[in-house]
Amino acid sequence: MNSKAVVIPGGKYRLEWSSRAASASSGLIVSVASVVLALLFSGVFIALNGLNPVFVFETMARGAFGTAGGLSETLVKAIPLLLCGLGVSFAYRISIWNIGAEGQFVVGAIAATAVTIYFPGMPHWSYLPVMFSAGALAGGVWGLLAAVPRTHFQVNELISSLMLNYIALLLLDYLVFGPWKDPAGFNFPGTPMFETWMQLATFGTGRLHLGLFIGLGGVLVYWLIMYRMKWGYELRLLGANPEAARHAGISVTKQILLVMLISGGLAGAAGMAEVSGVSHRLMYSISPGYGYTAIIVAWLAKLNPWGLIVSSVLCGGVIVGGYSVQMIGLPASMSLIVQGSILFFLIGGEQLRSYRVRLRLTSKPGGE
C-alpha cells in the first residue's frame, strides 16, 4: 500500500491517495458520475454556442422522456442500441475490440431486405423468421470477416472491423441508389415499402415495435451465457487472464470466432428489426451511428446485462433529445459530443476507482 499526498495551494488542506482494490459499488458511482460530468462538460460547448445549457438539457430531457410520444421514440432508438450494445459487449468481454457494429447492423438490414426483394412468393407467416435469420446470419458473417484476419493473420480487429463499416455503408448506398431503388419512389434512395406481413408489429402510442422483445430476449440470453453456463465462465476467464485460459485448454482462436459470429449476429438482428419495425424499407443512412453509440452503451453498462438495458434507454434518450434541440438551433452532433465525453469520464473514473482519495486538513494550518 503506497500512499501519496499533495498540499493544496493555500496550505489548509491536503489531498491524499492510496491504491486499493476497486469496490463493486464504485462502478455504479463512476457510471452515474460520468454521465453527470459529461453533461456539465458538454454544457460548455452549448454556452459557447450562445444558448443556456440548463435550458438545452431540459429540452433534451423533455423531448426524450417527458411525453408518451417522446418516451416511445426513445425506446425505438434503444432497441438497436441494446442489440448492438449486447453484441459489442460479448466481444469486449474477451478484449476483442469490435467497433464494426455499424457495418454489421447495415448488412443485417440489407440481408433482411434481400429476402423481401428476391423471395416475394413465400408464405406470409414465414417472412419475419426468415428475415430475422438472414439479418442475424449476415451480421455474423460480417463479424467473422473482421475476426478471421485477427485470428489467422494477426490483423488488429479494430482496423478490420472499422474498414468493413465503410464497405458495408458503400454497399448500402450502391443498393438504394442503384438496383434496389423504388421505381415509384420519386427518386428517393430507398427500396419499395415492405408488405404488412414483412413488418414487425407496433404497439403502444408511437412507433414502438416488437423488436423490443428481441432486445430483451437478447439480454436474457447474454445473462444466461455469461453467468449460468460453462462457456460464459470460459469467456470471462479468457477476458480476465488469457494466459491462464490458454493453459486451461481453451482455444483462443475458436472463442474469438464464435464470439464475433454472435457479436455480429446481434448487430445484424438489430438491422433487421430497424428495417422491419421502423423504416419498413431499406433506405439511405438507415443508421444514425447506432453501431458507434453502442460502444458507449456497452461501457456505460460495464458490460453488465441489466446495465445494458438502462444505458441503451439513456443513450436512446440522448439521440432523441438531440433531435429536439435541433429545433432550437443546435446541431444533432451535440449527442455525439455528450457520448464521447461520457466515455472519457468513464475510463478516467475507472482508473480512479482503484485509489482511495481523501481530502484532509493539514495538521499545521498554513502548511509547512
Binding site: I159, W299, P331, S333, Q339, Q351
Partner: protein, 309 residues
C-alpha cells in the same frame, strides 16, 4: 499529362495527409503508446484550421491552430493512458467519437462553403519544365515539402540521435529505460503530444489543400488507414512515406477509373482503399508469422514504476 503521371500527382496529393497522420502515429507508438484517436484528431485539426483561416485569413495561423488542437488531444490521451494508466484502445475510441461529434458541431457553419485560398505553392523554375518530375515537384504545396523534410528529420531522430535511442528504449522496455535514468512518463507525454500535433496537421492539409470544402466526417476512415499504415511501415518513417503514397495511389486510382469507364459502379471503386487496407495487413501478418513485426515491445502496456522487477 498522361494517365500514369496524373495518377502519380494524385497519389502524392492524396498520400500527404496519410503521411502526416502515419508519422504522428509512429512518434506515439515508438514510445509505447497506441494512439487510436487519429480519425477524431484529424477531423478536429481540419475543422479548427478552416475556422481559423476563414476568420483571420492567415494560413500559418490555421496550421498552428490545427497542431495545437491535436496537441490538446495528445495531452488528454497522455493524462488518461500515461498518468491514469487507462486502456489505450478505449481512450482512442473516445477521442475518435468525441472529435467526430465536436468537429461536426463546430464545422456546421462552414459545411459546403469553398475553402479560402490559403497555403501557397513553391514554384521551382528549372524543375517545372522537366517532364513528369516537373508535374510532381515543380509547383508543389509548401506542406508537401514540409512532409518530405519531416520524414528525413524523423528518420535521423529515431535512428541517429541520443534522444531517438531513449525513445526506442522507452518503447521497448520502459523499466530498463527507467533504470537508465530516463523519465519514462515525460518521454511518453512528449511523443504522444508531438504525434498528435502531426495528426492535427494532417487534418489541416486535408481540408485546406486536398478537399474543396469542409464536410462532416470528411476524413472518411483516413485516420484508421493511417493507423494501419504505421504497422505497414514497421514504425519506420521512410517506409511510412512509401506506404502513404501507395495508399494515396489506390484512392486516386478509384477516381481515375471512374473518368475512364463506368463499367464498375463508383461505390465499389470507393471500397478499394478499405479493402486493400485489410488485405495488406493480412499479407503483412502472414509474412510476420515467424518473425517479429518490428512493433515496439511494450506497445499498449502502461508502465507501473512500483511494479518494476
Amino acid at each position: 499529362m498522361d494517365f500514369i503521371t496524373a495518377l502519380l500527382v494524385a497519389a502524392l496529393s492524396a498520400g500527404t495527409p496519410l503521411l502526416f497522420a502515419t508519422l504522428g502515429g509512429i512518434l506515439s507508438e515508438r514510445c509505447g503508446v497506441i494512439f487510436l484517436g487519429t480519425e477524431g484528431a484529424m477531423l478536429m485539426g481540419a475543422v479548427v484550421s478552416i475556422m481559423t483561416l476563414s476568420r483571420t485569413g492567415s494560413w500559418p495561423l490555421a496550421v498552428v491552430m490545427a497542431m495545437l488542437v491535436g496537441a490538446a488531444f495528445g495531452v488528454l490521451h497522455g493524462v488518461l493512458c500515461v498518468s491514469l494508466k487507462a486502456n489505450q484502445t478505449v481512450s482512442g475510441m473516445a477521442i475518435t467519437l468525441f472529435g467526430t461529434g465536436l468537429s461536426a458541431f463546430l464545422g456546421k457553419p462552414y459545411a459546403g462553403l469553398p475553402v479560402p485560398a490559403g497555403i501557397p505553392k513553391l514554384n521551382i523554375p528549372v524543375l517545372q519544365d522537366v517532364p513528369v518530375i516537373g508535374d510532381l515537384f515543380g509547383s508543389q504545396n509548401v506542406l508537401v515539402w514540409a512532409s518530405f523534410m519531416l520524414v528525413i528529420a524523423m528518420q535521423a531522430y529515431i535512428y541517429r540521435t541520443g534522444w531517438g535511442l531513449k525513445l526506442r528504449a522507452v518503447g521497448d522496455s520502459p523499466s530498463t529505460a527507467d533504470a537508465m535514468g530516463i523519465q519514462v512518463a515525460a518521454v511518453r507525454y512528449g511523443h504522444v503530444v508531438a504525434g498528435a500535433m502531426l495528426i492535427g496537421l494532417s487534418g489541416a492539409y486535408l481540408v485546406l489543400v486536398f478537399s474543396p470544402n469542409w464536410m462532416e466526417g470528411m476524413t472518411a476512415g483516413r485516420g484508421w488507414i493511417a493507423v494501419a499504415l504505421v504497422i505497414f511501415a514497421r514504425w519506420n518513417p521512410v517506409r511510412a512515406l512509401l506506404g502513404a503514397y501507395l495508399f494515396g495511389a489506390f484512392e486516386a486510382l478509384g477516381y481515375r477509373i471512374q473518368t475512364v469507364t463506368d463499367a464498375v459502379p463508383p461505390y465499389f471503386l470507393k471500397m478499394l482503399p478499405y479493402l486493400i487496407t485489410i488485405l495488406v495487413l493480412m499479407i503483412i501478418g502472414w509474412n510476420n508469422r515467424r518473425k517479429p513485426s518490428g512493433q515496439p515491445q511494450s506497445l499498449g502496456a502502461p508502465y507501473y514504476r512500483e511494479q518494476r522487477t
